[in-house]
């Protein structure tokens, strides 16, 4: 596993100074299996520092939610250990629950209650009463921009409003560690941006955020560090920049007719500096040490074989490339459901 760089040197995405020593989350050989021999999480090791936004990136079924449920005390590990806020998630489950906030993938709202009632109840469950609960509720409603809708039943809320209210309900007790399980899945681009802003603000206020996502851009833009999980195993870990830098190459995309992809792949064999070729439906992705200097040779080879290329472009590696390198395949559904489509933040 990769050791992290000192991200405090990056002022734009830095962990707040004055952080407490020790990990906010630490998992050792954490494993969870289910009936039928399904190994959802396979002995993962994980360390999340206090004050960071940690991304847990992976496709559906990779083990993200199972990991979150174990760390949130909702599911006991089959083996291994985990601590959250310095407390064991099995032995000290009740204490852990006082220190964490949780917004799970399924938005946990009671449709019969209004937003205000739901938050006041949540305050009550965390021991706040009377005026204190009412003022905290008002504060949170304001924070997530739901004051105007506070007295409507939550079943009338849009998806984005529900997600924001769920987030607010996870914040009533100002948790040390906030778990967000795919907080933007299914949201429109504007709502996603709002959630991203909330996450940044919550983190800036001092909470450690553990965020699962299947969206590369979300992990790239929000997270100080991230781990990629696939098939229950962590296959890469580090800062987004570090992971991309470790790819050590550029990606040259060559667009060709689908029927000629296989031929083109053969033509590119032995290209100087070539590390990997990935055939895609409408072209090839060539992972080369130096993209710009490889282009003349790529063009020469295409011309020699009379293959007409639609477009050739050079790009820096993305987290998708990191995922591809780590797992041998691209993260599913990125093109169709990428949150960054039409979004900039």
């Amino acid at each position: 596993m990769l050791e992290t760089t000192d991200y405090r040197s990056k002022p734009d995405r830095s962990v707040p100074s004055g952080e407490e020593p020790g990990a906010a989350i630490a998992a050792r050989s954490l494993r969870r299996s289910f009936k039928g021999g399904i190994e959802a999480v396979r002995e993962i090791d994980l360390t999340v520092r206090r004050g960071e936004v940690f991304g847990f990136l992976g496709p559906n079924g990779a083990g993200k939610t199972t990991t979150v449920r174990m760390l949130c005390t909702l599911l006991p590990p089959t083996s291994g250990t985990a601590t959250v806020a310095g407390l064991d998630v099995v032995r000290d489950a009740a204490k852990v629950r006082r220190r964490i906030g949780v917004a799970l993938q399924e938005i946990g709202l009671d449709p019969v209650q209004t937003g205000r009632e739901l938050l006041e109840l949540q305050c009550g469950l965390y021991g706040m009463k009377g005026e204190r609960a009412r003022s905290r509720t008002a504060e949170l409603l304001d924070l997530v921009g739901l004051t105007d809708a506070a007295d409507r039943r939550t079943k009338t809320y849009s998806g984005g409003m529900k997600r924001r209210l769920d987030l607010a309900s996870a914040l009533v007790h100002s948790p040390e560690v906030l778990f967000l399980d795919e907080p933007t899945t299914g949201l429109d681009p504007a709502s996603r941006l709002t959630i991203w802003e909330e996450v940044r603000r919550i983190n800036a206020d001092g909470a450690t955020v553990f965020l699962t996502t299947q969206y590369l851009e979300e992990a790239d833009k929000l997270c100080h560090r991230l781990a990629i999980i696939d098939n229950g195993r962590i296959v890469a870990e580090g800062t987004p920049a570090q992971l991309k830098a470790e790819m050590g190459h550029d990606v040259v995309s060559v667009s060709v007719d689908g029927a000629k992809v296989a031929v083109t792949e053969l033509v590119m064999a032995g290209l100087p500096g070539l590390e990997r070729v990935v055939a895609e439906p409408d072209g090839l992705a060539l992972y080369v040490e130096d993209g710009a200097s490889s282009i003349p040779e790529i063009v020469r080879r295409l011309e020699r074989e009379r293959i007409r290329a639609g477009a050739i472009s050079v790009a820096q590696p993305t987290l998708d490339d990191v995922f591809l390198k780590a797992t041998g395949r691209r993260l599913e559904g990125q093109d169709a459901d990428q949150p960054g489509a039409g979004v900039s933040a």
Partner: protein
Amino acid sequence: MTEVALLGRRAVREVIRYPEATIPTLFIPLFFLAVNIGQVSKTFPSSTPFLKGEGYVAFQLPVSLMFAVATATSGLALVTEIDLGYFDKLLVAPIRRSSIIFGRLTADLVRGIATSTLVLLVGIALGAEIRTGVAGAVVIVLLSAFFGVAYAGFGLLVALRTRNVQATQSSFLLFFPLLFLTPNFVPFDRLSPLMETLARINPVSYVIVGLRSLVIDGWDGGNIAVCVLVIVVMGAVLTGLSLRVIATYDRS
């Protein structure tokens, strides 16, 4: 205790805001009351010895009361909550898991008081005379409501075990044999030998007999004590099982 009160208040709010979940549960008991009286009131006129001068409506009233309070409504609310993910939100809050069950049962008590009061008033309007007076009527309502609370444990248990809406909804059907293998139409001694044996081993029979005694006989300590005992034991067993299941929910 605070958390039970908070969750109970929420569940009661749900009952008030979703009358469509309660109203259908009133239809069956009122329908049975009307149909049964219409069909057999001439067969069993008030001169029938076991009616002790009352109309048949008085004899049938406890059966309708039990129909009104024995529902799977709480189980359905819980399984819906599991389905929606709010149950996880409660599990991850720093509260005792038992408070989720007791919060639901609080709503059952409130719902039971409301529905049994209504059914009792309909029964009185149809001619039933409560021999134990207003105090007896209050006891009838409370015993009925607590029977509903005790029975609700079964729906909660099915909801927690199956996590399935259809299964939880179907759990209500179990109440039909429990209610009909009783002296619901006639007293024990008028039943066939086999039916009498089944009715005598069915604990629900003694709840009906206890409630009926309050309507027809007056204050009968023995019948009431047995009725209370059945409700307490049934509640302890079913609620106890629900508490056990919720305590180990997703913990294995």
